[in-house]
């Protein structure tokens, strides 16, 4: 298969392994695909005849559905496997799952897994294209791509922007993928959260660390607010939800320090009144629903490119309307 220099290769397991050119070409490819979702009949034959397995071995609703929409809008045949009701609960190992998928001659696997490195593990063992839909605390590349697209839509660029990720950085795959992607595209990146939820060595990745959310908001053009995973509280990472909201919550009062052109992102699902107040989530700075819309376009772009599509032919590809 002929591929241009900016093609993705076989798999998308993380942003860390992508070049800036590859990231930009995914974002550029997503642009024309956005329009497909606006049509009355939201379907093009780009992946007709391709079989895709959505292997979601950890609970997920929005990411799985977003991938499913992307696949269906590109006319792929899809099968969903979830943790409950799959042979995995019966003790099947990931390598056996991989071998079985391979034996069924599927074309692509979209995998969500609770262990860091699981997507790469699968990618190294099967010839099908593998897309990481979140592996443990490692990466969630399509989430970062849709965040990048949403930021670029608004500012027309990424380079030179200041982006702060606020919340549980330690356990967040979204944070890591965002950090890698934003830095590659020339943004300044910071993190802010309780020190118990910042990984040791995070500053060595090239990010600033803010201890106070007020300072982070004053500094940033964009804040990406992460969900406080409630189980973290039980594990003693933060004393209480109430305190978390009081000290780290993104509230309207705190946004008064923000500049006039300021974006609030959140990968969802939100804990309203914990990490983000409702009037911020629903307010003028919020692009949270735009992220969801962009998510489908970005995932269509990734699947299209992994299937051998060319970024420069994306516009043409979407013309083959069927229905």
């Amino acid at each position: 298969m002929n591929r241009t220099a900016s093609s993705l290769g076989k798999d998308l397991v993380g942003i860390e392994g992508l070049s800036a050119d590859q990231i930009v070409s995914i974002l550029d490819t997503a642009e024309p695909f956005k329009e497909i979702s606006e049509r009355r009949i939201k379907k093009v034959p780009v992946l007709r005849g391709k079989t895709i397995v959505n292997l979601f071995l950890e609970p997920s609703t929005r990411t799985r559905i977003s991938f499913e929409f992307a696949e269906k809008r590109l006319s792929a045949d899809t099968v969903n496997i979830t943790a409950t009701g799959s042979s995995v609960v019966k003790g099947e190992t990931l390598v056996d799952t991989a071998r079985n998928l391979e034996a069924m001659r599927i074309d692509m696997v979209v995998i969500r897994h609770g262990s860091s490195g699981a997507a790469r593990f699968l990618a190294e063992r099967i010839p099908s294209n593998v897309v990481n839909a979140g592996d443990g605390s490692h990466e969630h590349p399509t989430q970062a791509l849709l965040d990048l697209l949403t930021i670029r839509d608004h500012f027309g660029k990424i380079e030179g922007l200041k982006v702060c990720i606020i919340g549980d950085i330690l356990h967040s795959r979204v944070a890591r993928s965002n950090i890698f992607g934003l830095l590659k595209l020339g943004a300044e990146v910071a993190v802010c959260g309780p020190m118990t939820l910042l990984p040791t060595g995070i500053d060595a990745l090239g990010v600033h660390v803010f201890r106070r959310v007020e300072e982070a908001i004053e500094w940033a053009n964009v804040v990406n607010v992460l969900r406080l995973q409630l189980e973290r509280m039980k594990a003693g990472f933060v004393p209480s939800l109430r305190e978390y909201n009081r000290i780290y919550g993104v509230s309207t009062a705190r946004l008064k320090k923000a500049g006039p052109d300021f974006l609030v992102l959140h990968p969802g699902p939100m804990n309203r009144g914990v990490e983000i107040d409702s009037d911020v989530a629903d307010g003028p700075h919020s692009v949270i629903l735009r992220q969801v819309t962009n998510g489908v376009a970005v995932r269509m772009a990734v699947l299209y490119l992994l299937a051998g599509g060319m970024p420069e032919q994306a516009e043409a590809a979407k013309q083959g309307d069927v229905g």
């Binding site: 190992t93 860091s116 490195g117 593990f121 443990g136 040791t200 060595g201 995070i202």
Partner: protein, 428 residues
Amino acid sequence: MSARTILFQGGRIVDPSQGLDGVLDLLVVSGKVAKVGKGLEAPENARVVSCEARLVLPGLVDVHVHLREPGAEHKETIASGARAAVAGGFTSICAMPNTDPVIDSPATVGFVAAAGREAGLARVYPVGAISVGQRGEQLTEIGELVEAGAVAITDDGSPVMDSGLMRMALEYSRAFDIPVADHPEDMGLSRGGVMNEGLVSARLGLQGKPNASEDVHIARDLLVAELTGGHIHLQHVSTRLGVDLIRRAKARGVRVTAEATPHHLLLTETSVEGYRTDAKMNPPLRTEADRAAVEEGFLDGTLDTLATDHAPHHYDEKEQAFDDAPFGIVGLETALGLLLTHFVEAGKLDLLALVERMSLNPARAFGLKAGTLADGAPGDVTVVDPELEWTVDPTAFHSKSRNTPFKGQVLRGRAVLTVVAGRVVHEL
């Protein structure tokens, strides 16, 4: 003359117990060392082994191996582990008690000892548990374990978290003159960790274990050993502060011995890149600064004992996502080659010092009749070809397991003949 009579002729005999390093002959008669000297005559019916250009060492001793029997014989059995040991030049090995069931009763201690004798390869010394079921609650019947053949006690695999229990173990064990070995790890600080905590874990999104989880526990063990006068043996030390704490404790007279493993001497956390489960071990591979400190401690004798922490796992258990794979690597068949190549040939350590750390010191630490070629000592001998180049090929291991991060490494120096009580148990 018995078949257990051998004359090792013209080899370079390296025996730190006698300060010996020279080309000499060694005579083993009826399974015991009879004489070391020049121009020794072979008794009638003795086997004569020409050892020209070979090293003749007191059999190597590994005080930290996991044999998995009873309970996980698919990974290793006492016999397969003993076979791997002699192939690697080890004539005495100490079997950790974290089996299923745990080795916490005279019966289970006896089982390990008997299975070791039956295998008839390396000498297999059982190590009993400190606490019943290794649950960290109640002391085992330590005296009875020792009577049944246990040479030490440890809850290895897990640390003893209760400092009071550790105090009791160290005090009680003094009557039996055995070491209390401990896996130093504060479980609260290492909560959920699967590798070293630092830049690499931050990037890979893997939960880390900080150095402090080990340092805190080493400090605790040293202080309790000092309080009780018991002999603490610290297993697989991996941190720079840990080495320093032990160095300072030794200087003030605390009864402590300590291990360095080949992997902590040679590898760092970067080996985990790519989620390589063969580099997943506990304690984890740490930073270059830690590795260098472990090396320094090994060279200056602070870490007086080389131990492999041989931890066999079946291939499909390691063939998993990193979080799900078990900790540990096999070590019996690679340790000698790794140390000869990276320490002796590299000019960091002389042979006498290496043999001290791989034979004499571990034997002394665990009170084993081994580690010396003095007259009357057991005829346990390892003959090494120091020039033999070989490639680490896990498929050729005698161990039932293949999990090693050293696969494909070209090493120089290998045991070509291993003799236990005058019997040849391995010959290349």
